[in-house]
């Protein structure tokens, strides 16, 4: 069986997990869960943040790394840029946000690719630095209340029926999908993730590829931060919440293998939606938030066994064919 068919089967099977989750929730809560307003709220308003962050996590994992620092980077970049957005200085706000986001992304990238620090340790430290700085900058004062123009970034709709926040996410998805699947850069990314030494021997500048991944993550963190400001109408360091854990979970449930070099951003979207639907469904059913945590954990475990089972099945199938 070719790698391509294998990946395709894996993707379809992940999609099945999502369908099962939706189906179960629809059966349990036919009225409140399965209606257009709830579904569109989850997909178009709540999931985009987890999806955008999980994109970054997935790229890092595909390159055989991990990025723990994205959520804190997001908090910090949003915090520094918030005053400018509040005053309607949008260009300046975007520049500051990008400066912080990409700056920290670059730090991560250099630490990992040039100084050769383990990705987990490098981004873990940067996570502390970024969040710490955000708390220092915040000093207990939440920036609150943004102009309507700025808020329409998330709650407005350029295309009727699709909030702008969803539009952004779709655009980012399309761009990342194209870059990872249809360009030489994308091919190099997967090769580096699969086997860095071999990639180096085949003439890929592995350091630069890895550096670029973390810079892209910085960009994504900065974008997510701006969108979060617009959604919450406030800059508040507690928004970091469970985003780091959720984005790792989204990647895992979506089928991005931790060994690197496998999975696509489409897997990520599916994984993120699974998590968001579980949280939404359990809220609607009135199940305690602690159970959500446990259930997400079970789903991660399940998806790992699922992957094992699937690959054993596929190997058997391939043997029979011979």
């Amino acid at each position: 069986m070719s790698l391509k068919t294998k990946n395709r089967i894996d993707l379809i099977s992940r999609f099945l997990i999502l369908l099962v989750v939706i189906l179960v929730l629809a059966l349990l809560q036919p009225n409140a869960f399965l209606n257009a307003s709830n579904l569109s709220q989850v997909i178009f308003q709540q999931a985009p943040f987890t999806i955008l962050m999980a994109f970054g996590m997935s790229l890092a994992i595909i390159s055989n790394g991990i990025d723990i620092s994205m959520a804190s980077n997001m908090v910090l970049s949003s915090y520094f840029s918030a005053p400018y957005f509040q005053n309607g200085q949008y260009l300046l706000g975007i520049l500051v946000s990008l400066g912080v986001g990409v700056g920290f992304g670059l730090c991560n990238g250099i630490l990992i690719s040039k100084v050769k620090i383990e990705p987990f340790i490098a981004t873990f430290s940067i996570d502390f630095v970024a969040l710490g700085l955000a708390y220092v900058a915040c000093d207990g004062v939440y920036i609150y209340g943004f102009p309507d123009t700025f808020r329409s970034l998330t709650n407005g709709s350029l295309i009727p029926g699709i909030p702008n926040i969803a539009l952004f996410t779709i655009l980012v998805f399309a761009l990342l999908f194209f870059v990872t699947k249809c360009t030489i850069y994308g091919r190099a990314l997967y090769t580096v993730g699969h086997n860095r030494t071999a990639a180096g021997f085949s003439g890929i500048r592995t350091d630069n590829i890895i550096l670029s991944v973390y810079v892209i993550n910085g960009l994504l963190a900065s974008l997510t931060g701006i969108l979060y400001l617009s959604r919450l109408n406030a800059a508040d360091p507690t928004i970091k919440g469970t985003l780091t854990i959720d984005s790792i979970a989204a990647a895992l449930i979506g089928g991005i293998a931790f060994g690197g070099g496998k999975g696509s951003v489409l897997n990520t979207v599916i994984g993120a939606l699974v998590i968001m639907f579980i949280r939404n469904g359990m809220n609607i059913m009135g199940v305690s938030t602690n159970w959500q945590q446990a259930v997400v954990g079970f789903v991660i475990l399940f998806s790992i066994f699922y992957e094992r089972g699937l690959s054993i099945l596929m190997a058997k199938f391939a043997e029979k064919k011979k």
Binding site: F33, A122, V129, Y135, N155, L232, N233, I239, G286
Partner: protein, 338 residues
Amino acid sequence: MKKLSVVLAMVLTVTAMAGCGGKSTESTNTDTSADTETSEGGDENEAASGEMRDVVVMVKNSTAPFWISTMDGAKQAGEDFGVNVIFKTPVDTAEGSGNEQQSQLCEEAIVSGADAVVIAPVDSEAIVPATKKINDAGIPVINLNTRISDAEQYVTFVGLENVNQGYDTAKVVLEKMEGEGTIFIIEGSTGAQTSIDRVTGFEKALAEYPNIEVVAQQSANYSRADAMNVVQNLLQSYPDVDAIICCNDEMAMGTAEAVDAAGKTGEILISGQDANDDAVGAVKEGKLFATSFGNPYMQGYTAVQAAVDVLDGKEVEDFYEVKTKVVTLENVDTFKDE
């Protein structure tokens, strides 16, 4: 290379921790050699005054506006009463690890020779072994804000009654509803004593209004973003809810945004707790119906005052109550002066 990376990670972590300490310049550098009053120099302040007494103040975190204000109050009291106020705060704000870090900080406080320890425990049960050690070392414990479950552990308690605060706030909301309708309760992090107490207060008030029904009760981890999602989800099942009572202001503000997104601002009464600046602003705008002023500054101030009373050998009461006040549109401009 591995060694280098570990060292780098440690340096970065320490930097981050120092950053979190924020205002407290002496948060970690307490003199370990000083066993009692006479310190062997090192700290200029201490050397100059000879026998400045050290009061360690341990709050739950140094990031929430509430605790920053508490520390401001404690610092002022330190200046007024001539004691050295040393802040020790856990870096991690999560409940579980927060307690673990506080327990470690308690040990640090003993080693550094503190004369009194003021503590606002993250977890009022799990802190007991640590406070026991402080007591065993002969250092008086002043309990701030959240009661330690074992009353043997502290000399006196300084704070407000979270139960009363919850009761007062809920009562104002339920009165406004004229005793009819449905509400959501949005809890803080599970296991957090403040959340448990405030909810107890809510329930006490609810008992007086049998025709008001709690249709949903969920935790949003004291977080704005979580509350926004949770309330959006809950509104799907109960779009006609009349009021949403939250255990703190960040969650109330997230709730206000969710309600706003649903186009129901003004139709649903929302209440928070703590009277943060942005929440007070939202009360003025009519986005929030009520919040409650816990006077964190006075809590910090009174705690250090109580510590000084204890150290001076004065007879102390077992409860220094700091009064709370419900803030609504009526008193939003004046509640701090009253």
